[in-house]
């Protein structure tokens, strides 16, 4: 029978299907971090259970860590306790930890791929919804809750109902200045923040196969922002080339065998999906969000929808959202002054993102009223940025390049956007208060974010390149 890529991977990991119940799904890789693991470890202890497969788990500290002076003890007592708890648990249970100051430390979804831990055909989970990022490699990867983290600790399996299948096809070449981030923001704006509910998405078409691995990660990362459980892209030569030579990638004969089996990972031509969408790359421009969910986005030179354009059922949420953002229906955003720019997060803090931003910034100076900070996704990204001299470009332009972590993506550490301020951010969520209480987030690509910092106002990258 014809199968989708998703079915092939999922089905081969089912230990047992409970009649009329969820599947018992075997997990190949489990990433953990300081925020969603402590209760799972203590749950395990309370039940008197051992950790079933410690060698399949990799831990890092990212959500809560400071992005300055990481060599000093963490000053916030609760954050410090959480990070210490992770270290203690990893030691006690024999889990590999890339903690603060380790050369591999970084945002969990950045380090998995860059270390070659993330590989095609795997099932991957983490107590973090953006685990979908790893789908870029043709893996079934999704976020789980802490009880599920505990399930994987105890049995290397979780109970999961199988999601429905959706395919989103985009064909054609992207306009200059339009990035992977714009593609995914465009898709979400078209199908809404809940349009993917209940589905697992496969991204197909030439636009995605033309993308680099890092760009594909940006796309898959935000699958969850349309409500989908995850998103994946069939692996190809680019995928194999990316993995080759990385720390934990197979090598030699093992690699050849792995690649041979990875080549089988694609959707059969006549396989069917429960839902399909088609878009054209030429219709996609630089995007920005104006509201408080990632579906509330538009092409940067458009006007915010007017109330008349909306479904009656949408009006109240829309009005509430715009009032939080202090924006008006029908207003245009181009030219709007912005005081904060954040380049970071598991969506856009890899080396290609930093390079793209550096290209815009090179030889220029940020607007005086803007605070612009860049948080590399990992220690390795940071190191690479220094080796390429990107740090100088940023510093000369008045940007602050800090140390790796989640930072202002969720504002758990001290990196918060002040109340009432606009922030053009390369992260993935514009929820109320996400970047700090009262902060007003506008999601955009690294190019748009960098340009906004230079111009001091929201600007269309197409007018500059």
């Amino acid at each position: 029978m014809s199968k989708t890529l998703f079915d092939k991977i999922w089905d081969s990991h089912v230990v047992k299907s409970i009649p009329e119940g969820p599947d018992v799904l075997y997990i190949d890789r489990h990433f953990i971090h300081e925020v969603t693991s402590p209760q799972a470890f203590s749950g395990l202890e309370k039940r008197g259970l051992p950790l079933f497969r410690p060698d399949k788990i990799v831990a890092t500290a990212d959500h809560n860590v400071p992005t300055k002076n990481q060599h000093l003890p963490i000053s916030d007592a609760l954050s410090r306790l959480q990070v210490e708890k992770l270290t203690e648990n990893c030691r006690k249970f024999g889990v590999e930890l890339y903690g603060l100051n380790h050369p591999y430390q970084g945002i969990v979804h950045v380090i998995g791929p860059e270390l070659g831990i993330t590989q095609p055909g795997m099932t991957i989970v983490c107590g973090d919804s953006h685990t979908s990022t790893h789908g870029a490699f043709g893996a079934v990867a999704f976020g789980i809750g802490t009880s599920e983290v505990e399930q994987v600790f105890a049995t290397q399996c979780i109970l999961q109902p199988k999601p429905l299948r959706m395919r989103i096809t985009v064909n054609g070449k992207l306009v200059k200045g339009v990035q992977a981030k714009d593609v995914i923001l465009y898709i979400i704006s078209q199908i809404s923040a809940s349009g993917g509910n209940g589905y697992f998405v496969e991204y197909a078409g030439s636009t995605f196969s033309d993308m680099s691995m890092e760009e594909r990660m940006t796309v898959c990362n935000m699958s969850i922002e349309m409500g989908a459980r995850g998103g994946l892209i069939a692996p190809d030569e680019k995928t194999f080339d990316y993995i080759k030579g990385r720390e934990f990638a197979p090598s030699g004969k093992e690699l050849d065998e792995a690649i041979a089996s990875w080549r089988e990972l694609n959707t059969d031509p006549d396989a069917t999906f429960d839902k399909e969408y088609h878009f054209d790359a030429v219709d996609i421009g630089p995007m920005i969000t104006y509201g408080t969910n990632p579906g509330m986005g538009m092409q940067i030179n458009n006007n915010i929808p007017s109330l008349e354009e909306l479904d009656p059922s949408e009006k109240s949420g829309f009005t509430k959202s715009l009032s939080y953002m202090d924006l008006k229906a029908g207003e245009k955003l181009i030219g709007k002054p912005v005081n904060y720019v954040f380049i970071g997060s598991c969506t856009n803090a890899r080396i290609e993102d930093l390079r793209a931003a550096a290209e815009i910034v090179r030889g220029k100076r940020k607007a005086d009223h803007v605070t612009a900070f860049i948080i590399p996704g990992s220690k390795q990204v940071e190191k690479q940025a220094f080796e390429e001299g990107l740090d100088k470009i940023f510093t000369e332009a008045g940007f602050e390049l800090r140390q790796p972590g989640c930072s202002a993506c969720l504002g758990m550490n001290e990196d918060k956007i002040p109340k009432g301020e606009y922030c053009v951010s390369t992260s993935n969520r514009n929820f109320e208060g996400r970047q700090g209480p009262g902060a007003r987030t506008m999601l955009a690509s690294p190019l748009t974010a960098a340009l906004t910092a230079i111009e001091g106002k929201i600007s269309d990258i197409r007018d500059y390149i």
Binding site: G21, P22, Q39, G127, S129, A193, G227, N293, G317
Partner: protein, 190 residues
Amino acid sequence: MEKFSKITSTIVPMQIENVDTDQIIPARFLKATSRDGFGENLFRDWRYDENGNPIKDFVLNDSRYDGLILVAGKNFGCGSSREHAAWAIHDYGFRVVVSSYFADIFKNNSLNNGVLPVQVSEEFLNGFFENPETEVTVDLESQKIYNSATGESELFDINPYKKYCLLNGYDDIDYLVSMKDEIEAFEKNR
């Protein structure tokens, strides 16, 4: 986990759509290493102003409404996978959340913590918002939710396995651990 069977209670009507987990429990309150105490900060930024004073018109501060059942607009629990959202709802005292749609991860998380997500039709949901002082009965055994103000009831869906777990107070880990041999056999045969 505690057993769940039948609940009759007044409701807390929250007519807001797309309630995301950052609103249910903001990230800055995720620093605890135990599961307790999150209820205090449930809907923190909607509930209290920056000086910690209750915001009057938010429904949790409205003395007319109280009970074990939270009723909310469509797409409840979207956003992050933080289970802290389910812990906060449970810790505050809710045992049922009613909405016309739930985000997947939230649904799993709440079922794993003894909070029943009841998905109903839009019309049925509106029946609560139109009669916010109603009394509601949720019966897991018959999968029925009853709105006493309108006299209407609706059947709701729940996975039979999850229903069995809730009724008996079992959780997924108990079940998975009982499968250990099968899991090991699966590993060997790959």
